[in-house]
């Protein structure tokens, strides 16, 4: 199939259904990049974010009148698209679905926090905790047959385990009372 804009072979196919009206777009990689439908491999993050938030179709969701509103600060996803900014902490929960693909792309596949944890939330950087968390995510990725993500996690697990081995003994710290990984969506 030829690209809608030039004579190259179309490799990017987009189907939009808005109000029951189906439209199809077939583009070559280059034209798709130009239109911001697929990101350039070397696109910088802010460019990517701008495209994602200004072009809802590329975020995998079309805009709808029933878009959720954050009850805490009144921010809508349309507003986030426009400004690139969330209104408050609760927006992360309210718009979690909308943010998923954006975050994954903006952070090279990163979907869950790994790193420092405020003491009040259960302690400082805890390598053991990170290892447990990574193992859990690795299992999830394997079960979901997401092998690329699994390979990534496996590499990270190895790095973390090596850091733990090399690290000097740490002061005993407050135990994590509940497993925060439970909050992670499977």
């Amino acid at each position: 199939m030829k690209c809608d804009r030039c004579d190259n072979e179309a490799t990017v196919h987009e189907v939009n259904i808005i109000d029951g009206q189906k439209t199809e777009v077939h583009l070559c990689q280059e034209c798709a990049q130009e239109l911001g439908i697929v990101a350039k491999p070397t696109t910088n993050i802010s460019e990517l974010l701008t495209k994602m938030v200004t072009n809802p179709a590329s975020a995998g969701r079309s805009s709808s009148a029933a878009a959720p509103v954050c009850e805490s600060c009144g921010t809508t996803f349309a507003r986030i698209r426009k400004t690139g900014l969330l209104g408050c902490s609760d927006c992360y929960r309210v718009f979690e679905q909308e943010l998923n693909s954006l975050l994954e792309r903006a952070h090279e596949g990163g979907t869950h926090h790994i790193g420092k944890i405020p003491r009040r939330a259960g302690g400082e950087i805890d390598q053991q905790y990170q290892i447990l968390r990574l193992r859990k995510q690795l299992q999830e990725a394997i079960s979901a047959e997401e092998y690329e993500r699994a390979a990534n996690l496996r590499d990270r697990l190895r790095t973390t385990e090596n850091v733990e081995k090399d690290a000097p003994a740490r002061q005993p710290r407050q135990a994590v009372e509940s497993d925060p990984a439970e909050d992670d969506p499977a």
């Binding site: 070397t42 910088n44 993050i45 802010s46 974010l49 805490s72 600060c73 009144g74 921010t75 400004t83 690139g84 900014l85 969330l86 209104g87 408050c88 902490s89 992360y92 929960r93 943010l99 954006l102 975050l103 903006a106 952070h107 090279e108 596949g109 990163g110 979907t111 869950h112 926090h113 790994i114 790193g115 420092k116 944890i117 405020p118 003491r119 009040r120 939330a121 400082e124 950087i125 990170q130 990270r156 790095t159 973390t160 850091v163 925060p180 990984a181 909050d183 992670d184 969506p185």
Partner: protein, 350 residues
């Protein structure tokens, strides 16, 4: 007269020694943090912003062995520009009239911007390549801040930030590099491509959204979610920085070995201009000082005082220049004053 009360100590971040300082000007780590119970800055009311400002202004004297507080909504515009030029606040933070401020230590190594894009942007800036030390320091300051303030944090997303590109660790690691030999040999594009492949950003002298001036480049991380602070630091310390430093060293050696006359010509032309010109633009000055810095690092101009060159990089910027002269100057006036200052500071050299 000029309306500034800000006093700065001599110790500035710019090339004040440190490891690998012939190529690495400075190491910086910034953490984006928000306070639980408040909407992010853009959604916060003036009252809420004021409460945050008051909270930090009250706590700042206790943090990092004592920080001074500057209320930016009340500060004269020249003061705000001085703070931008000294890397203590961002250009955006210098604008606007809503309650906001900055706390910083007397030596300017630690600063906390309040009500920029996030409630708090903690920064540690140190000369040369010392990222691990810089991170250890900011980690301690972060703990001190957290002992007074509850951060917005989620188990899944980590430290919550207004912009989702900062969420997770909220960390931005930036290294300021001086790469004149790579530019003279036309190899900057190679570096730019290599770092892009590593999802790092190569920016200009003045940070985000600026072009490189005077061969000074800022290299920073883009991703903050899904990798730990130490992994992100590791990309710099064990990977990209030693490589870029080595490329620059090799380019300098190659220039010395194969194109010494060309190199000397570049350096001494810059010297000639700086010590003779009657009008100097800010960017032109930076470009010429860059070549003098290279000449000084390579021992081509031995009698030049590296400290004079280093301080001129800062003092020739618009707000600093006006502060030295003691009066407000338009652009044309600044060009004259800049040329005078440079001639005076470099006088007595070859």
């Amino acid at each position: 007269m000029i309306d500034t009360d800000l006093q700065f100590a001599d110790g500035d971040w710019m090339g004040g020694g440190g490891p690998a300082c012939d190529v690495v000007i400075s190491s910086r780590v910034r953490l984006a943090r928000n306070i639980a119970g408040y909407p992010f800055v853009a959604k916060a009311s003036t009252q809420q912003r004021q409460e945050i400002v008051a909270l930090v202004a009250r706590c700042a004297p206790k943090w990092a062995d004592g920080m001074v507080w500057v209320d930016l909504s009340a500060a004269p515009s020249l003061d705000r520009t001085l703070l931008v030029e000294r890397r203590l606040i961002s250009r955006n933070h210098a604008k606007g009239s809503k309650p906001r401020g900055v706390a910083f230590t007397r030596d300017e190594s630690v600063s906390v911007m309040v009500n920029e894009e996030d409630h708090l942007r903690i920064q540690v800036l140190q000369p040369g390549l010392q990222l691990h030390e810089t991170y250890e320091r900011i980690d301690r300051v972060d703990d001190e801040v957290e002992s007074e303030i509850d951060y917005s944090f989620s188990n899944r997303f980590g430290y919550l930030t207004a912009c989702p590109t900062n969420v997770g660790t909220g960390i931005r690691v930036s290294v300021m590099l001086h790469l004149p030999a790579l530019r003279l040999r036309g190899e900057i594009e190679k570096v730019r491509r290599a770092v892009k492949d590593m999802q790092l950003a190569l920016r200009g002298f003045h940070g985000e959204g600026t072009e490189a001036t005077g061969d000074f480049y800022q290299l920073s991380n883009q991703t903050t979610l899904g990798r730990s602070e130490r992994e992100i630091l590791g990309d710099f310390v064990d990977g990209v920085i030693p490589s870029v430093v080595e490329y620059e060293h090799r380019a300098r050696e190659a220039l010395l070995a194969k194109r010494r006359v060309f190199l000397e010509d570049q350096v001494f032309r810059a010297w000639g201009l700086l010590t003779s010109a009657r009008l100097l633009d800010a960017d032109e000055t930076l470009q010429l000082l860059s070549l003098i810095r290279l000449g000084s690092c390579l021992g081509l101009i031995e009698s030049v005082d590296p400290i004079a060159v280093r301080s001129l990089l800062l003092l020739t910027q618009p707000a600093h220049l006006q502060r030295i002269v003691g009066k407000r100057l338009d652009q044309a006036g600044r060009r004259i004053a800049r040329a005078e200052l440079v001639r005076e500071r470099l006088a007595g050299n070859p």
